[in-house]
């Protein structure tokens, strides 16, 4: 069963098209990471999922319900982490817990305080006087206490130091695995995503570049390079992503197997020698290889 179903999403800001006819699903129990460069529509997608944006066309359904007309019972099953770990700045740790608890019948008070005990901050401390890292733990604690079936996390690494990032990711991973939760998340820190996600969507301007399992992505994508004479430019091909000249070699990323790449190169009449196809080291390499540096 799918927890999130997006179908035919089209959105514009003014005349600028963000994407057209975007469709994807997130099955129950999967952790999906949305990757994309700035301006490719990550925040737009998060806003559409949260119901804080009306698409020009298309529909978002979560737990089978249209997010724009969702019942309170369904909304209760969704935990939301806003970019920057936003919480009510004017409240203290204790007040936040007191405020949220009545909205959630299955509220887990101990989950909230257990996480916050690690912070060694006074429960009467106001959120506005906390560091980014401490605020992230408060926001995470609120979500844990809600015990939602779906977590939507927008840029969860923003402003966190490596320690807090690791703490955040480990907590989420443990929580999601133990309780079979579904997660949809974005982050600019791809190493964090890699530790956390099962599935991955990489967005390019106006479209989904790829949507597949992380393990499959790591297995399939190849960084190919070959020696080429000076001045030679690789003809454009939709299967070769962002060819780049490095000294006397041309490098590009592709989903094709090495033999097929060589066949395509031959069919393009490319003059090449010393062909090498290597598996990228990590998700960040794949992301930059497929979307380009610029």
């Amino acid at each position: 069963m799918n927890t999130i179903e997006c179908s035919g999403l089209t959105h514009y800001y003014g005349r600028r098209q963000i994407y057209k006819d975007l469709s994807f699903v997130v099955p129950e129990g999967h952790i999906l990471g949305l990757l994309g460069k700035n301006g490719t529509g990550k925040t737009t997608t998060i806003n559409l999922l949260n119901g804080f944006l009306k698409p020009h066309a298309g529909q978002v359904r979560i737990f089978g319900e249209d997010v724009r007309a969702m019942r309170n019972e369904t909304r209760r099953r969704i935990g939301l982490l806003l970019e920057g770990h936003v919480q009510y700045q004017f409240m203290t740790i204790e007040q936040l817990e007191r405020f949220y608890a009545p909205f959630y019948p299955d509220w887990k008070r101990e989950a909230y305080y257990e996480l916050l005990r690690k912070l060694k901050v006074d429960p009467s401390q106001r959120i506005s006087r906390m560091s980014n890292g401490q605020r992230s733990q408060v926001a995470l604690g609120i979500i844990m206490a809600q015990n939602p079936d779906l977590l939507i996390l927008d840029d969860f690494s923003l402003g966190l130091d490596p320690g807090y990032r690791r703490l955040f990711v480990d907590y989420l991973r443990e929580y999601a695995c133990a309780e079979k939760k579904t997660m949809f998340l974005t982050s600019h820190i791809i190493q964090d995503m890699e530790r956390l996600i099962d599935d991955c969507i990489i967005m390019d301007y106006g479209r989904i570049l790829t949507h597949r399992k992380l393990s499959e992505l790591m297995r399939t994508v190849r960084c190919c390079s070959f020696a080429a004479p000076a001045g030679y430019e690789l003809p454009e091909n939709p299967d070769f992503y962002h060819p780049e000249r490095k000294d006397n070699r041309i490098e590009f990323y592709t989903f094709l197997p090495p033999q097929q790449v060589q066949d395509v190169l031959k069919s393009l009449g490319a003059s090449f020698s010393d062909f090498v196809a290597a598996s990228p080291q990590n998700l960040e390499d794949i992301f930059i290889g497929l979307t380009g540096k610029y």
């Binding site: 909304r75 806003l82 009510y88």
Partner: protein
């Protein structure tokens, strides 16, 4: 859940509410002490004469105070909702968005109305010792539109604050100033006696305006 929403609103506004009450009671108290002092020095007949012949109510000094306090209270309640788009947290809660906004506004209206009602009570108690009931009623009817302007100002502040684009916020601000002008147009005593029900209707209608701002926020109309 209503208790919980009231709790959040109270945390945001409790200090501001203390300031609102102190300022309101301070102004009204000052006016009442002044009236009392003049009554003791020159005698009540002198005050009667001035009030009847010169159409005076002796507390014009606080005509605009409820309006300013309404705006201040509205700012303290609704600006934090728009900081870092906190309103998303509020609207994501498993509670009807319409009811949520209604509870938030009713919270503010109740507190302000309580403060204003106590102020009116202060006027009534002091004036009843000096003037006849018709004159007390005249004084209260003169002050009522000013207090109603305070409630209207509060709702209009919510309307402007919850709007998420500056272009429309400025347009709403201009519209709000014109609407407030209706409440404070004439300073003469009892000028609004027959208009009071219409002012009440105006307040009731203004209660619905912040829904427009929230609907636009949910549609993603943001700067």
């Amino acid at each position: 859940m209503i208790k919980s929403i009231f709790f959040k609103e109270w945390i945001k506004t409790r200090r501001c509410y203390a300031v609102v009450c102190l300022a309101m009671f301070g102004f009204v108290g000052y006016c009442m002490l002044n009236v009392n002092r003049v009554a003791e020095i020159k005698g009540a007949p002198h005050l009667w004469e001035v009030m009847i012949l010169k159409d005076a109510v002796f507390f014009d000094i606080f005509k605009y105070v409820p309006t300013f306090l309404g705006i201040l209270f509205g700012l303290m309640q609704f600006v934090p909702e728009m900081q870092n788009r906190c309103l998303k947290l509020t609207l994501h809660l498993p509670y009807s968005n319409h009811r949520m906004l209604a509870v938030m506004q009713l919270f503010g209206l109740t507190l302000l109305a309580a403060c204003f009602a106590l102020s009116v009570l202060m006027i009534v108690l002091v004036y009843a010792r000096i003037f006849v009931s018709e004159m007390v009623a005249a004084a209260v009817l003169t002050a009522l539109p000013w207090f109603m302007a305070g409630l209207e100002a509060y709702l209009l502040t919510a309307f402007v604050c919850l709007e998420s684009t500056w272009r429309l916020r400025l347009a709403y601000l201009a519209m709000s100033l014109l609407m407030l002008r209706i409440f404070l147009f004439d300073a003469s005593a009892q000028a609004y006696v027959y208009a009071l029900p219409w002012l009440a209707v105006c307040i009731a209608m203004t209660f619905t305006l912040p829904y427009v701002s929230v609907a636009r926020f949910k549609d993603g109309c943001q700067d």
